[in-house]
Symmetry: C2
């Protein structure tokens, strides 16, 4: 008899994990909706022609491909076979699993361009799949949670992203965190200011590793990437500065980028975003300026965001930015927008590490009705619908068995209250309500019980 | 430039469809939870060893298989290749996509048998994939929505399934429907009563087609399956009877099955289920006895359910039954239970055909704040957070543009109210609130607007 197992890098989510994940996801979803975003879902499978070439060579390798149905070898010649996997692949597979939510979103926008109303604000919460080597905290199936606005370059969107992050973190109870903000144009300006105009790409890639490998190694990498000693020297004030104070950072940068039109535009955009944030009544709390923030993603053209929770050794839990061209690769140029996402698995880990989840199982029933015999069972049954009609999650132990077994069941399932129905209770039309947390037990009427549990 | 497309048999769900689907799914989910069911999610990918052999030969064909990562041909010899797809398949693919929610649930129960509390009540709402030929109403990716209790044979579970169906349909606004109930033991009894004991399998398969092909063709099929003329003659009263009246049906069957112990047990179970339903305060409305109901599924051993909406030409929207052995195939015998599921796509179609969805987009923002210039934009921004703080979905048009364009945006997105912020409104601290449904416009304060929209 086979012993079943899970594919490596995948997980089941049992009742407690689901309740906690749903708490996070519902919070995010509700916030997106309050801000006017509407939900989209796309299929798990996409044509490989949609997916390949969008994530670089490494991404193409990490796509999960679906074998064609039926005789999948029918189009494979002996020569194809001898040429190996690369030649054979297009003959045996036409579809792959979604690798992120951005490419399917771009495809959706292009396919529905004539029906959509722009600016189009969508959010999407679905799993994605990557054939990465599984390791701690890295899975082959995980949820992404994206929100994007396309079809407007208003900085209102950037300001609202900050508001949404504030709202989600406040509802989740995460108090100590920072929203780092930057602007790609500032990075462009820095490249200009150090005399390496146009090289902000490699500059970003190197700077992005600052936290991980330190200043010396970043300089080493810059040298390897062809940056001159003069440029590296000119960068020094930036490495040294990076002040905590937002306004001091801006002032410093205004000097540093005085000669760069693009850089000054980046600063202006950042200031305007903060102004809009203020007119929205939003706070600057948690918002930090990090003019070296690059996020390694070359397609950002304006704002760049990254959110980290403090007090835990967990990477960024949210991030995003503005981009110029979402759909060009599908033949629809000029669709710009701004988007961000929450890392659900990491938020889960942060909340667990900080002890922010409530002790009790969030989705467990609140009440179990227990009994000693058929008469008690029937009496309990007669109460049950009235409890549920109040919206209270409740159940009746289904089998006639010892009370201890029923109490054990409640305790293991995380049900906090047990309503015991014996002869005395039937006679007095009450329930012996036992609080499993405190061990206290009291005789209550149905109405009193409803009031207590509601 | 490539023109993107969707794999056949798959769909995108845009904002309106998502809002409607979520309305259905949230209703079902909430009902499951009120009844003490807890959520489980399993990975999209399962090992092929978990999936194959569980759905018959046809099912194995319809599994979507995932190509192994990297050089997927590395274990394929030239001989394998020449032997064809069947020999090559196990060398190039180890994983497949979930085909239903039952097998992953069984795997989960076996893998977590020592941690789970029985009776274990779980629900699961996730997509499944089948490489079926796509056609109207049949997709290659669709949601299933299952609830099961394992580890008890109490008929309370059956009675509660009827209650849950009542609750879901009532909340969805579907008023005209029937819950057909039967019991596998009654079918076994019928096979005994017509002198063909042990042949309820083929009897069920043939009878299951009664609605589709009619009595004559069913009889024809029974002959082909080796049923004697005497047996077919003995079946006549059943075909002729099948009365609308539940009790009359039971009385008739008590006579017909008088000699079959199993048959009588089936009747007793059905009666007991109705008794429990009554003690739960449930109604027998919509519940119909169909002693020919078989659902073509041979693994049911007790109760069988099937739900159809009237007034639409759409197949069953819910169904289920009791089974004896969920996990035997994974080496854990004796796990019996009862389960049922809702067909979300079909429920969607029923509600659409009956016009049960509200006219307006269920998830669209309720309010758009519009403006004529920067001053109006800033004023609108100052109101926005207060609207959202009330939990009202609202947005501010992000760009400075003509009012008409902003009104068009609201109208196309299904936003019912537009709060126009001009100089007059700024001065009087009001908003010109326009109801896009009626066209009426009135000057209101923020408080008045909140009251109206809340």
């Amino acid at each position: 008899m086979q012993k079943p197992s899970l594919p490596k890098g995948t997980r089941d989510f049992g009742p407690i994990q689901m309740a906690r994940r749903n708490f996070i996801l519902d919070t995010i979803k509700e916030t997106f909706q309050i801000f006017g975003y509407q939900q989209l879902e796309t299929p798990a499978m996409e044509n490989l022609s949609t997916l390949t070439g969008k994530y670089g060579d490494e991404g193409d390798q990490l796509l999960f491909k679906i074998l064609n149905s039926g005789d999948f070898l029918k189009n494979v010649s002996e020569e194809d076979f001898k040429n190996g996997a690369a030649t054979t692949l297009p003959k045996v597979s036409e579809k792959g699993l979604r690798y992120d939510l951005t490419v399917p979103f771009a495809r959706y926008v292009v396919m529905n361009r004539h029906e959509l109303t722009f600016p189009f604000k969508r959010f999407q919460i679905q799993p994605v799949w990557r054939a990465d080597r599984p390791q701690k905290g890295r899975y082959r199936e995980f949820y992404q949670c994206d929100a994007d606005v396309v079809g407007t370059d208003s900085l209102l969107c950037e300001a609202e992203i900050i508001l949404m992050i504030h709202k989600v973190f406040s509802k989740l109870g995460i108090q100590d965190y920072s929203i780092k903000v930057n602007n790609r144009k500032i990075l462009t300006g820095i490249a200009e200011a150090i005399g390496e105009a146009g090289k902000e790409g490699p500059l970003c890639v190197a700077i992005d590793k600052l936290d991980k490998i330190g200043k010396e190694k970043v300089e080493e990498e810059l040298r390897q990437r062809g940056f001159g000693e003069e440029a590296i020297t000119k960068l020094q004030p930036l490495f040294d500065a990076n002040p905590e104070d937002f306004d001091a950072g801006l002032e410093f940068l205004k000097g540093f980028l005085a000669e760069s039109e693009t850089g000054k535009q980046g600063i202006a955009e950042l200031e305007e975003t903060l102004n809009i944030l203020a007119s929205l009544g939003g706070t600057r709390d948690h918002v930090a300026f990090d003019f070296l923030l690059a996020r390694g993603l070359s397609y950002y053209t304006g704002a760049i965001f990254e959110v980290k929770a403090h007090g835990v050794k967990i990477g960024s839990v949210s991030g995003g930015g503005r981009y110029d061209d979402l759909t060009g690769v599908f033949g629809m140029p000029g669709v710009s927008g701004v988007g961000f996402s929450f890392g659900v698995d990491r938020l889960y880990d942060v909340m667990e590490e900080l002890g922010l989840f409530p002790e009790d199982n969030l989705s467990a029933p609140v009440l179990l009705l227990a009994h000693f015999d058929q008469k008690g069972f029937d009496y309990a049954a007669s109460l049950l619908s009235q409890v549920r009609a109040k919206g209270i999650r409740a159940e009746l132990y289904p089998d006639l068995t010892k009370l201890k077994k029923q109490l054990d069941y409640a305790s293991k399932k995380g049900i906090p209250f047990v309503g015991i129905c014996g002869d005395k209770e039937i006679e007095s039309k009450t329930v012996a309500l036992k609080d499993l947390t405190t061990g206290e037990q009291s005789s209550v009427t149905l109405e009193e019980m409803l009031e207590k549990l509601y």
